[in-house]
Amino acid sequence: MTTTIQYILSGLAIGGIYALVALGFHIMWSAARAVNFAHGDTLMLGAVLAVVGVDAEIPLPIACLLGIIAGAVFGVLLERFAIRPFTATSNSIGWMLTTIAVGVMIESLATLQFGGFSRPLASPGVKSAVHILGAGVYPQELAIPVFALLVMFGLKLMQRHTLVGRAMQAVAHDKRAAALMGINVNRIVAFSFALASLLGAAAGVLVAPVIQVSASMGALLGLKGFAVAIIGGITSAPGVVISGLCFGIMEKFVEGYISTAAREIIGFSVMILVLLAFPHGLFGKREVLKV
């Protein structure tokens, strides 16, 4: 029993990270029909800058805040220079290459500047474990899925009740019609990338005390987060969060009852099977294309 609960709690923590990354993909895709494949590196950027800030003797909360803001700025710049020029025609896929390229460059630059070692980011959330029905977990780990759920509900509220949220939906639905209605499409797309990157960098700062900060921390998380977004249906915020949490829990049970080596094999097999059965993801809606 304790073991089962341990796997669920550990799985929720890991799954929460996937969900947060996947939410970023969801936001970008919803507005631009393109994503930043370097989104995992946005996480890394937020966390690395927070540690660099702490090294420069900036107080911890301010260092974290600076890291998060820098992440948002990175998102805006990336959209302007690596995505927008390559999405002019509807079928262009140049943005895939450019965002991956930017990701590789950022990671190399971070390795050069930050060095090869993982570094800790201090947090009261990992001082000591709390025990729930005999299973142990750090408070910081519990905060990750909670934060993912908060972001999910926040997004829903924003989309329903704010002008910018509705404009985002309009742009997602049909860029040209939205432009004719007087919406500044470019500004909305830029805003959604800023929001996604802000959340990405915040997620980086949030998970850093648990998984440690290194230049390579974002690569695998980015890939898994994207996989989760596809499984959940990238157009559905609750879909990506639920599938992120479930994916994390499933990984822990595979590790626990089969083996660690089987984790990626089973995880990615499940992804392929889900896509065969549900081509738009578990919770995704089929998009009607008007020709």
Binding site: F117, L220, T260
Partner: protein
């Protein structure tokens, strides 16, 4: 016609290549090469080799060099990639014409280098990578040597230490799913079976895994009362944290992957974790170590011994350069084959060990110079990795 031309030109190319390779073999120069990671996550490995080798070469040159000429050191980056290591080996041997080449940090690179090293016939002296098969590769004559730890012996040494500390003799082995970790598994199993025991659990994990509670729970439930660990600092930290979460705190003895910054990452959780080394600058220094440390400080502007992340690499490289220099003097020539022969006759009292002789031509296991009796246990104590005997952990044993 086409075929004829092809054949003719291939013959011509072969003749030219043959000419160049004999030319390349003809004259070696007083230089020692090195292929190591000087960029990427293990750049500290390449840095430590450079420091040790350069200080030794400075000392040797101050006394007139070898065979009347000053020694040079050339280092190329392989970033831990085997193909680049192979490329660098050829460059050091055929372009720079160095007398010998030092090895780097990554075992995968060392294993890949064995082939070109033996094909070209240049003496290779490994100074960090500990993979058993890289040096014990079954080739005769074998040009692969090592002045560093060897996983096979490390496994025996650590199993011995583990059985001393374990009350029940039930030992779990946690290892990373890489060439280094998987290569150590048979070594550890062998070492256990030599004393008539078996591991109660052997659990693996991947780089960058964030949580190891399933593996920890399995090892705990198998009844282990001590953990042998083959991990790097980041994963070592995640293991300590997973143990903290499930409330299990067995003694841990690890190979030297957790000798970097585990203390910084895991904080007090790292206290008491023991790590094997061949050398450390931490703790109190004897006069010989102090003199070496003063030179390092002066040349590289280092302020505190804890800034050196791989002290073993510095000292191993220093000793290796001296052994090579003495072999050149004994051979009376920079010739690869003669220097290789002479390596078996060098006696030298080094920083890490007393080499008497450095290598033994009769024993294929003795292409390794540092015997297990020179391995040292260090222990993480409040963020510092100190020699075991200088801490309260050493005294309680």
């Amino acid at each position: 016609m086409f075929l004829q031309t092809m054949v003719r030109s291939s013959v011509a190319v072969a003749a030219v290549l043959g000419f160049f390779s004999t030319a390349a073999h003809a004259e070696q120069e007083p230089c020692i090469g090195n292929s190591a990671a000087t960029t990427g996550p293990a750049a500290f490995g390449g840095q430590s080799i450079k420091m040790g080798a350069e200080i030794a070469i400075d000392e040797i040159n101050a006394k007139g060099g070898v065979l009347g000429k000053p020694l040079r050191f050339v280092q190329y980056d392989d970033a831990g990639a085997p193909p680049r290591g192979v490329d660098n080996t050829r460059r050091v041997a055929l372009s720079d014409k160095c007398v010998a080449i030092l090895g780097g940090y990554h075992s995968t690179v060392a294993v890949a280098q064995a082939e070109p090293v033996n094909e070209i016939g240049i003496p290779y002296v490994g100074v960090l990578a500990a993979n058993t098969k890289a040096i014990e590769n079954g080739k005769t004559p074998n040009f692969m040597f090592r002045v560093s730890a060897k996983d096979k012996w490390v496994a025996r040494f650590l199993v011995e230490q583990a059985l001393k500390s374990s009350k029940t003799g039930k030992i779990a082995f946690l290892y990373e799913n890489t060439g280094w970790g998987n290569g150590a598994l048979p070594d550890v199993k062998d070492a256990m079976s030599k004393v008539g025991k078996e591991l109660v659990a052997a659990e693996t994990f991947n780089w960058a895994d964030q949580d190891m509670t399933p593996q920890i729970i399995r090892a705990r439930d198998a009844g282990a009362d001590l953990v042998l660990l083959w991990a790097l600092d980041r994963e070592g930290n995640q293991i300590l944290r997973s143990m903290d979460k499930v409330g299990w705190k067995p003694p841990i003895i690890g190979a030297w992957g957790i000798a970097g910054n585990l203390g910084e990452l895991a904080g007090p959780l790292a206290n008491g974790v023991e790590v094997i080394q061949t050398y450390t600058f931490m703790g109190s220094m004897d006069p010989k170590k102090q003199a070496f440390w003063d030179k390092l400080k002066a040349k590289y502007g280092i302020k505190d011994p804890s800034e050196i992340k791989m002290g073993s690499g510095v000292a191993n490289a220093y000793d290796a350069v001296y052994i090579i220099a003495k072999a050149i003097e004994k051979a009376g020539s920079y010739d690869w084959a003669k220097v290789r022969e002479a390596l078996y006759t060098v006696n030298y009292d080094g920083l890490v060990a007393s080499y008497e002789p450095a290598f033994d031509a009769k024993d294929p296991e003795r292409q390794d110079a540092i015997l297990p009796k020179y391995y040292k246990l260090t222990v993480w104590t409040d963020g510092k990795l100190l020699p075991l005997e200088q801490t309260s952990y050493g005294k309680s044993n």
